[in-house]
């Protein structure tokens, strides 16, 4: 049933929560290293960065978990995991793990958990991570908190305090899994910061067999059709995003957003009303029901800064807000604010950046 109905009913209770001896044996923080077509999804590194903090707080090791086809590539993922903070890696290599499929990956990850007993298991909230997390948590009969935006340790109970949006995103709730292990959570890409990479870090690898043969697996991959990366917006990983909101008033004015973005080599983003009006494609929506972004620079024009938009973009290093209402909520958290008409400010900004860039080109 819905979250809201659960809220007041069951409280974690006062005081310390005693784990059974059997569950106390579960130690360590694990991050599932997700990869597809020879590339690790960056969310895995973001999670290792976050997992490092959790492991240090608990005083336990941080481990990467890599499942894949035998070969150098798969082993390289372990090395990469060390560079991003893992102390060791659990590695399961088998030809049937070549492509992601629910059945062998669920068995593999479940077996690893049962064999090495981590207290926390983190996965990306991607199509792969969500598919796998739900199956593994059900098999292990443990708690899983989806789409977390914050992970902490509740020291009193030595448990994972996983926070996620609730009530349509206007509030957060913290969820604990008290007397079940491991405690599982998924986190959306770009919610956590990418940790610094340290190429000197080393770690050890623990290998474990899968014990399945292709004939055991019911679902077969016939083909994989890669997306044409060029014509899909890559908002989540853009360094600069210029976003427009309802304040741009019409699709013609919205062209001013594109002009500035083009000048800066930036991606174009939008608030939900703009997407709903069909001025831009749904892939460009930033916010709770759109993308989470973490650019170096986010320029928001004609966007009020509603909480559902804010949660998707407040991870930006610098936020510039252009809004003609001095009381717009976006000014409560932007870095720089311009109170004025976006229709005149945007062209002026495009012009000013153009000059700057021309100067930089001459100089450099």
């Amino acid at each position: 049933m819905s979250e809201e109905k659960r809220v007041p009913v069951k409280k974690a209770g006062k005081g310390k929560y005693e784990l059974s001896e059997q569950l106390k044996a579960y130690k360590g923080v694990w991050v599932f290293v997700e990869h597809e077509r020879g590339e690790v999804h960056p969310v895995s590194w973001e999670l290792l960065g976050e997992g490092r903090k959790l492991a240090d707080t608990l005083g336990v090791p941080l481990s990467g978990v890599v499942l894949g086809a035998p070969g150098l590539a798969t082993r390289r993922f372990c090395e990469e995991a060390f560079f991003h903070g893992a102390d060791n890696c659990y590695l399961m290599e088998d030809a049937v793990l070549n492509n992601y499929r629910n059945q062998p990956f669920t068995k593999g990850l479940t077996d690893l958990v049962n064999a090495y007993q981590p207290e926390i298991l983190l996965l990306g909230a991607t199509t792969q991570g969500r598919d796998l997390a739900g199956s593994v948590a059900t098999t292990l009969k443990t708690g899983l908190t989806a789409d977390c935006t914050e992970l902490n340790i509740d020291m009193e109970n030595r448990s994972l305090a996983a926070s996620r949006p609730t009530f349509g995103g206007s509030l957060l709730c913290t969820i604990l899994t008290l007397n079940y292990r491991p405690q599982m959570a998924t986190v959306r890409p770009r919610v956590m910061a990418l940790p610094d990479r340290d190429n000197r870090r080393l770690g050890s690898i623990v290998e474990h067999p899968l014990g399945l043969i292709e004939a055991d697996i019911v679902t077969k991959v016939l083909e994989y059709i890669p997306d044409n990366r060029q014509d899909k917006p890559q908002l989540a990983f853009a360094d600069i995003i210029v976003s427009g909101g309802r304040g741009m008033k019409n699709p013609d004015n919205f062209q001013l957003i594109w002009d500035l973005a083009l000048m800066l080599g930036a991606e174009v983003g939008a608030s939900r009303p703009v997407v709903q009006a069909g001025w831009v494609e749904a892939d460009r929506q930033v916010g709770q029901s759109g993308k989470t972004v973490r650019p170096k620079l986010y320029i928001a024009a004609g966007i009020s800064g509603a909480v559902q938009h804010r949660v998707g973009m407040e991870g930006a290093d610098v936020i510039i807000a252009i809004n003609n209402d001095p009381n717009a909520p976006i000014f409560d958290f932007a870095t720089y604010g311009i109170v004025g008409n976006a229709m005149t400010i945007l062209p002026a900004l495009t012009q000013a950046f153009k000059q700057r860039l021309a100067m930089a080109k001459m100089a450099g």
Binding site: M1, N102, A137, L144, G168, Y224, I240, Y336, G340
Partner: protein, 281 residues
């Protein structure tokens, strides 16, 4: 061919307004709807029935008023509807929900074997996307999530071929029935309810099952007791600390404002300035 579709009644979030001062959701008078993601699954199930014959049963676990959502599905063309409702279900998290639904679907299967189960990609209120995979695991069904297209279904060989959205591409998969499918949004468009079906929906006697009828004898696995997760607190998100530095110029000319902003940007954030300048080349 027997298909079961899991649907959930949710508050219509498009009509939810956020209180401008307290930042809380104002949900008074917000109408309840069928979870929009579930309709893509229902439509796909109905299309399979159109081609292959058989029947479509919709099921929900929820309070008595969820009946309205089931009736809506009958109007769209579902054959049967089952409301699983019991006080003992209160406080269920996704693990307990998938247990209750899996039990109920197993009961449904005793009447006529279930070939496929459909669930929504996720709900707009719980938003976890866990219940579908949970049901599949409990019933030992092959799991196909984020399906953008059902390419082919062969009832003779009991195989189905689908396109599944993966990170960075689309997987073309085949599997055996029985399986559980969650459809990607936008993969089809819900049909209009026909006059006949609307009349049928109005008169339709839906089945109401309590815990026992749903085949559940262990109350430790449902509701609050069957839920490993507990909500420990609810709080307002912390805003970024600082208020924006407002760029003001005496002239108030857009050009001056833009230049002032840029000089601040490039001096106070040299790394960002560098990244921007690099784009000149």
């Amino acid at each position: 061919m027997h298909i079961v579709v899991c649907i959930k009644q949710v508050p219509d979030s498009a009509q939810i307004r956020v209180h401008p001062v307290t930042n809380t959701i104002m949900r008074q008078g917000v109408p309840a709807i069928v979870n929009p993601y579930d309709l893509f699954s229902l439509e796909e199930a109905l299309r399979l029935k159109d081609v292959h014959g058989g029947r479509v049963t919709v099921i929900t676990m929820g309070p008595p008023q969820a009946e309205a959502a089931l009736r809506k599905c009958i109007a769209f063309g579902a054959d049967e509807a089952i409301l699983v409702t019991d006080r003992a279900f209160a406080g269920a998290d996704t693990l307990a929900t998938s247990y209750a639904l899996a039990s109920a679907i197993t009961q449904i299967g005793k009447d006529q074997a279930v070939d496929m189960v459909f669930a929504g990609k996720q709900t707009i209120d719980g938003d976890t996307a866990q219940v579908g995979p949970g049901i599949a695991k409990r019933m030992d069904l092959q799991l196909l999530t984020y399906v953008s297209q059902v390419d082919a279904l062969d009832l003779m060989t009991r195989t189905v071929r689908v396109q599944r959205r993966a990170e960075g591409g689309v997987q073309v998969l085949t599997t055996k029935l029985p399986c559980l499918v969650t459809m990607l949004e936008g993969s089809n468009e819900m049909r209009f309810a026909s006059m006949d079906n609307m009349f049928r929906a109005a008169r339709y006697q839906l089945k109401v099952w309590d815990r026992v009828a749903a085949g559940i004898d262990d109350v430790g696995k449902i509701g609050l007791k069957g839920s490993p997760t507990v909500v420990s607190k609810v709080f307002a998100p912390q805003a970024r600390t600082q208020r924006a530095e407002i760029i003001d110029t005496e002239s108030g000319e857009p050009r001056d404002i833009a230049l002032t902003l840029l000089s601040k940007l490039f001096t106070q954030h040299p790394k960002l300035g560098e990244a921007i300048s690099k784009r000149a080349t």
